[in-house]
Symmetry: C2
Subunit: 399 residues, 2 copies
């Protein structure tokens, strides 16, 4: 157990993201000798993070001795993941590999101020934790707002009717301490907190439709406004102060609606669920979320010419915004979430054509545009962010 310490983190990440099913490919991916890869795998197994099953080989068909299978330990440690959204919150325990172990939803019955809601979601998570005997190595929280770095304050938590600048990271860390949730190294967990779309992008990159992408762009719309996120070479790019990828104020309709930013025709007001419902001539009701209303309309009444025209209008605007982003960021894959995902699936070719048409030289316009594939990807992303210290240095985190 002295061998293979430096490569411990990269090795765990490879198994975590499913890129190292056997020791043989682990050897190749790490670029080390078989001896080292074997020692690393043994160490990770000793730490209780992975398992080595001698029985089932990789894939039949190749000759030579079959390689043993590496898998994540089914009873390994977990992290506490939490998400707050317009309609409520959700807590979960998530193991390595993005596996959701337990989850508990909650609605907004508690007072709506940040401290109470964060306390409630952490308490829900701590309850799950008490239910299982598994070790907890950290905690992450996803909020529907830009989160300023390094302060950890929520700058525009609009759907939550929270005050701008709410110190969400601080509140989360305090709630974790109150609930005795442990973090890496045995110390109390410090609450990793981030924007929900950013964290969703991270999750999709590791376990979803973004796997293998070098530069991944995610765009999504849930309730109001449009969010973006960018993963560069496997790491989230959130800018120098956490405010990158505020894509909602790209101009997509010069003669369009005024936006609170002072301009007109921003993506935020021209391509979100409200814009779709309005374009389709429907009055949004207060009973269910705007996303749900839009989704229902799109799925059940797409044959209606007015609905279809509204969808195409929003797709055209979204395509204009995506083309602008492609020209600036040149990603090699785009993933859409929320209503944008539904619109993509309703008419994949139209969106791709608009993006290709408005990107320079059409070349980078050929970028694949996909739907996100993970359920609760913001929640999984919050867990990913919480796992990061463990992936960076498993020994220190387990210590």
């Amino acid at each position: 157990m002295e061998r293979g310490r430096g490569a411990l983190g990269p090795a765990l990440e490879l198994v975590h993201t499913g890129r190292a099913p056997t020791r043989a490919v682990l050897t190749a991916e790490l670029g080390v000798t078989r001896a080292t890869a074997g020692a690393v795998a043994a160490e990770l197994e000793a730490l209780g993070l992975i398992e080595v099953d001698a029985r089932p080989g990789a894939a039949a068909g190749s000759q030579g001795r079959p390689s043993h299978r590496l898998s994540l330990a089914p009873d390994g440690p977990v992290v506490l993941a939490a998400q707050i959204h317009a309609d409520g919150f959700r807590a979960a325990l998530v193991g390595l590999g993005g596996r959701m172990v337990a989850t508990a939803p909650g609605c907004m019955t508690v007072p709506a101020d940040p401290a109470h809601i964060i306390d409630a979601v952490v308490e829900a998570g701590a309850g799950l934790l008490r239910g299982t005997g598994r070790r907890c190595l950290g905690a992450g929280l996803a909020v529907p707002s830009a989160v300023a770095e390094p302060e950890g304050t929520a700058l525009n938590p609009l759907h939550l009717s929270w005050p701008a600048g709410a110190p969400v990271r601080e509140l989360f860390t305090e709630a974790l301490a109150k609930a005795d949730v442990p973090g890496p190294g045995g110390t109390p967990a410090l609450g990793v907190t981030g924007n929900d779309v950013n964290l969703a992008a991270l999750a999709e990159h590791r376990h979803g439709a973004g796997r293998g992408a070098r530069h991944l762009l995610c765009v999504a719309t849930g309730h109001r406004g449009v969010g973006g996120a960018l993963v560069l070479d496997g790491r989230l790019h959130s800018g120098s102060s956490g405010l990158a990828l505020e894509v909602g104020h790209l101009t997509v309709n010069p003669a369009g609606l005024p936006c609170h930013c002072g301009s007109r025709g921003c993506l935020d007001v021209e391509a979100d669920p409200l814009a779709f419902l309005t374009a389709a001539g429907r009055d949004p009701g207060p009973e269910v979320s705007l996303l749900q209303q839009s989704r229902d309309l799109l799925r059940t009444e797409y044959a209606d010419p007015a609905v279809r025209a509204a969808a195409e209008l929003i797709v055209d605007r979204l395509g204009l915004g995506l083309a602008g982003l492609v020209n600036i960021l040149n990603p090699d894959r785009i993933i859409l979430g929320g209503l944008h995902r539904e619109l993509l699936e309703a008419d994949p070719e139209r969106l791709r054509a608009v993006v290709a048409d408005r990107s320079l030289w059409g070349r980078s316009g050929g970028v694949p545009i996909l739907s996100c594939t993970l359920d609760h990807n913001s929640l999984i992303g919050a867990a990913e962010a919480a796992w990061q210290p463990v992936l960076d240095d498993p020994l220190a985190a387990l210590g």
Copy 2:
């Protein structure tokens, strides 16, 4: 000379960028022990890359034994740097630290096709190399066009009247082989080729106004159109296929001029030298470059209300574009080049105010906006790109 091999590259980079004036700070920056830092410095000195002067201490005023001074070897190796622009070309030899050792300009007397011009600039560089007895470790070329990766073709060399898709990297490498220019490891140089604004950003980040910035955005306009570049954590971000930061097609004037991209009011046609001259009511003449005409007008006739109004108009449009980029990229510094630099210096407050006003929450709008400070920054940037293999692994490159 057995110690300190892994830290060799990082150490050289620190001295190269002026961040390690003494062994003491080298120790701190590398995060190693004094013993290792000393061994690394000794190794770099043995390789002929740096010098250790025992005489002059760092800065007086602190107590304790004064640290020896680390400096770049004045007669160390060089790289061949080349730049092609609308009015001609320029070749140079550049040492570590961005020090121009020798330079030779050239004009467009040779036939204007890519192969001839690249042959001419390489031959000029090879001539400089024969003039000095210094070792050459690589070569870099800056062209005023997006360069597709990994092919190395120039996609829009508009000002050069070259065919789109000219294989500039291939031509450059062939010319280097023809002229017997050596590269890292003693093998023939493989010609590193990139967009001029991208390379200028790299140079400014290492030796100019961008030093110390984590996320650096550069925007510049020379002849026609507007170019952008982004340095993230010290590395150039050129996207998945080299086409990132094509910022010229951000909409800054919805009712503006039609652009060849199919839209209207793009930064490319609304904030370049031609747009400025036109706004000022001047007919651009064919004798000198548009940049030169704009610069002269701005410097000599800024008192003229029409000129001033034109400058403010362009500044407002540029500010709108920069604000859009700030919202997406959240850099911690912006550097302007070409006419944009002149406009910034004519009225710094106006541009900063527009950017702050149109960025979200004003917060990230407070990003510092500076002029570039290096002469020939694209040329120095081409050299930086050529130095990269040496900085990554000095031993292999010197081999």
